[in-house]
Symmetry: C2
């Protein structure tokens, strides 16, 4: 009887979790709810694309009036693809819905007042009206503002290196690369200076850093060598990575393939190294293993080591110190609702989905699972628990299809049942699989799509399920017409993967204009090479 009650209770908890959003019914006689979306990146743009704009009074606020297809950003730094080919004005997404109610405002959100349900905004661009600040009231707020670059407090990074997050970064890098070559080409420059000016250093071995290194080496070997035949022997590309391997969030085989390709392409790799100081034209690097300090001169440095929370997100979290404790960004539940702020959602790089440790709840979970109340779990009781609680505890997800194997492993004394001790150990083991979702376009766009569906379903009263990330694979271009890919358990690399890389990115474009433009840019690069005009 007790078991029945606890079983029912568990089901009810889960159903409530499913339906909680659907309870907020819409009254058609009232005005439309005001939905403010902060941002125009992967999270926001994907959400706007799928959202039924007729149901809400939508306002989008972002200092950037376009969506940027970030995975192809490294290609624009050397002109393989033109800047405008990978951007799409956010208003194009609004026009698709024929709704005049949806507005976009080019401004930055400076403050979120979740108590009074208001956002404070400021026009920070060059052209401003007499009053450059304004407020927007909201019923629902979606924070999708992305994140800043993380310098890990390294001195001199902001002044002497380039980030690679936005089109303007890419424009500056393209100009800088050419300026380094043009200056090295002047008649009075010594060979040592040429070498320094043409040393391009990338700090950070994630996909952005790796792809940029590959694109730059292509540019040097394919195009610059024709324009500067006597200069290219001075040019070097170096990638500095703090971990053992580059692309270290990918499978080990991918890293190995990428590293081998770098060797072939003559891209120097310094692993287990930490940049401790950057000055104009040189940096200090500490090699972790030997503790040796090295001074590396450079002409141009790109910094791409990870993300840090944005000013407004930081301030917002600090306003709720007891609830928002994560320093990486806004913590949300599995419905992307921000903890402690009613009606506020967060997605993308600025958000972290709360991870609940199973171990802390093992007594409750055991009681919930022990349907017959006999103090031990049968495989059937265990399987049912996994099924019911997985949405709340994604670390269990990978066990869903191998419950039997997991059960057998956890049943240490092989009595065919799990004691509470055995159960505790199993949960402890499962918690080790608990990791934050990576700060990728893929996560942000899935969250955007999820939130659009949630907001659409809210109106129609459909049940809303927790967000469930489905990793579709990883791709990276590593130079020399070679890409690497991780799709499911498959690991691929080479020329064919490069075609795959291109066709996947082409198919993911939100607009036909971008698709055709990118295809044309690629064709142009093959036929005519990349343009080296500097402006």
């Amino acid at each position: 009887m007790g078991a029945l009650i606890s079983g029912t209770a568990a089901y009810v908890i889960y159903r409530r979790e499913q339906l909680v959003l659907a309870e907020e019914r819409f009254d058609p006689t009232k005005r439309k709810p005001r939905l403010v979306i902060l941002g125009t990146g992967w999270g926001a743009a994907t959400m706007v694309k799928d959202l039924n704009l007729e149901n809400y009074e939508v306002a989008i606020v972002s200092p950037r009036n376009y969506f940027l297809f970030t995975p192809l950003l490294p290609s624009t730094t050397v002109g393989t693809i033109d800047f405008r080919s990978i951007v799409e004005n956010i208003r194009s997404y609004l026009r698709r819905h024929r709704s005049n109610a949806a507005m976009y405002y080019e401004a930055s959100c400076t403050d979120i007042d979740h108590v009074n349900k208001k956002v404070h905004c400021k026009d920070e661009s060059d052209v401003r009206s007499a009053v450059s600040t304004f407020e927007l009231e909201y019923d629902y707020l979606v924070i999708a503002v992305g994140a800043f670059n993380n310098t890990f407090g390294t001195p001199g990074v902001r002044e002497n290196t380039f980030f690679l997050k936005d089109i303007n970064d890419s424009i500056c890098i393209r100009r800088k690369i050419m300026d380094c070559f043009e200056t090295a080409n002047l008649p009075h420059v010594s060979p040592e200076e040429k070498q320094k000016l043409l040393h391009f250093v990338i700090v950070g071995g994630g996909p952005t850093g790796v792809e940029f290194a590959g694109e730059l080496q292509d540019f040097i070997k394919e195009d610059l060598v024709r324009h500067f035949p006597n200069l290219c022997r001075y040019a070097n590309v170096t990638l500095i990575q703090s971990a053992d391997h580059i692309l270290n969030t990918y499978a080990a085989a991918i890293s190995a393939y990428a590293e081998k390709n770098f060797q072939k392409e003559e891209i120097e790799l310094i692993t287990n190294a930490r940049v401790t100081d950057v000055r104009a034209g040189e940096m200090t690097v500490t090699l972790k293993k030997t503790k040796e300090e090295k001074v590396i001169p450079f002409g141009c440095c790109i910094w791409s080591t990870g993300i840090a929370p944005n000013t407004v997100v930081k301030r917002f979290c600090e306003s709720m110190p007891n609830i928002q404790k994560n320093r990486k960004g806004v913590t949300t539940d599995h419905f992307m609702r921000v903890l402690g702020a009613e009606g506020v959602y967060a997605i993308g790089d600025c958000a972290t989905v709360e991870q609940r440790a199973l171990k802390n709840k093992f007594v409750d979970l055991f009681a919930q699972a022990d349907a017959d109340g006999d103090g031990s779990l049968t495989q059937a009781e265990f399987a049912e628990l996994i099924r019911v609680v997985t949405p709340e505890y994604p670390q269990l997800k990978e066990y869903a299809y191998k419950v039997g194997k997991l059960f057998a492993e956890a049943d240490i004394n092989k009595d065919g049942e799990l004691s509470i001790k055995e159960f505790e150990q199993l949960l402890e083991y499962a918690d080790k699989k608990m990791t934050d979702l990576p700060a990728t376009a893929q996560v942000a766009s899935q969250q955007g799509k999820y939130l659009a569906k949630s907001f659409n379903d809210m109106v129609t009263g459909q049940p809303i399920y927790p967000f469930d990330y489905k990793h579709k694979g990883s791709l990276a271009y590593v130079g020399g017409n070679t890409a690497v890919a991780e799709i499911g358990n498959q690991v691929l690399g080479g020329l064919a993967t490069w075609y795959l890389w291109r066709s996947v990115y082409l198919s993911q474009q939100h607009s036909l204009r971008c698709k055709l433009s990118i295809a044309w840019d690629w064709t142009k690069t093959i036929i005519f090479g990349r343009d080296t005009s500097r402006f």
Copy 2:
């Protein structure tokens, strides 16, 4: 007998003028002569394109490493054409010749030392080597550095308006237009402020100003109206012209057509007006006829009123105050040789071909023409003079095919011969036709082509004739898919002329890449509209 001598003398003078450059024979055992070309604009690029680079040790110096197809620059300010579609790296011109001897240096020439045959150069870009200056020695120097914008001393122009001479100007204007619209679109902006922010003022009614006005109005009417449906009624384009009419160097019919088209396109036109002062967001304009002063508020102002000499050109002329007296630029003879500086040539916007008044030489000319020495000129004697001296006095050019008519008109007493008095009056009349060549792409490119041929012919010992400008017509886009054209005595306007405008400019591209890129950009604009992303 005297007549024979003077006739022969005239012929000899003319022949010497033809051959003077050819006298400088090349000794194949000696090193190649060093030819330094300053600039990468119309004059320099056209010259390099046609020059046989094998004959000289060529060095090109310019702060801009690309040739820019300036006639399409207004189209790039609104995105009808992309920036990179109208530029071509100067090294592409050098590679065509398979010569490694030709070098390009990205630097500005700061000083011309024509006495020691040296130029002083400086790298003024962001990336510089330890020493940023260098010198180049030359045997021949071609000055083709173009000109600055002329503000006519109007206060505030440099700080508060945009010029439209280079790609970077165009990039800034495109960003600014979008910024004005985005700011006007913010929720708290008053209708008065919207009107001000969306008032685009162009100062100067030459082809650049007129084409920009047309392109901008197209952008507003075709694209921005879709993105800002409630905002475009506040948008206005105004062109301020100091003369009576816009395009006032063209035929009157062209001006009239353009003005009618502006009316149709709702581009406001203020003629006979002089801008006396520009401040942030407003300017003072004096209406010439009424002397009335008007304050005009604006969101964005483009200044396109004419040219002024570049710093290095000014300094160079000031070093020869007795010879170089023209304030507009370097004075050259009809072979483009700079007066007073041996081995130095100048072409394009920085150069002015010396105009010799016929009247000052009427006694000598009369003696030269009077072959039979009878104190009066027969029509045959007169015709022969015209033929011989026209290369030196281009103001005679238009009489070459109507010598009979001119002679009849000048022969006031109708005695069938010209007295010295009648001859003097005729020359005075002809001198009135003496005008400087306009500062256009067409003049500069013809001069570049001419100089390339001169330098090629110098080596082979071919005779070199004075430069002879052949006006091939004028074209201008005036908005609303309408262009105007002046070809020979033909005046055209309308949609068909727009197609002509497009096909002429397309055919003039120096590279296939630019041709295809422009064609694709036009197609993209027709299908998808112009991109309004702001970066």
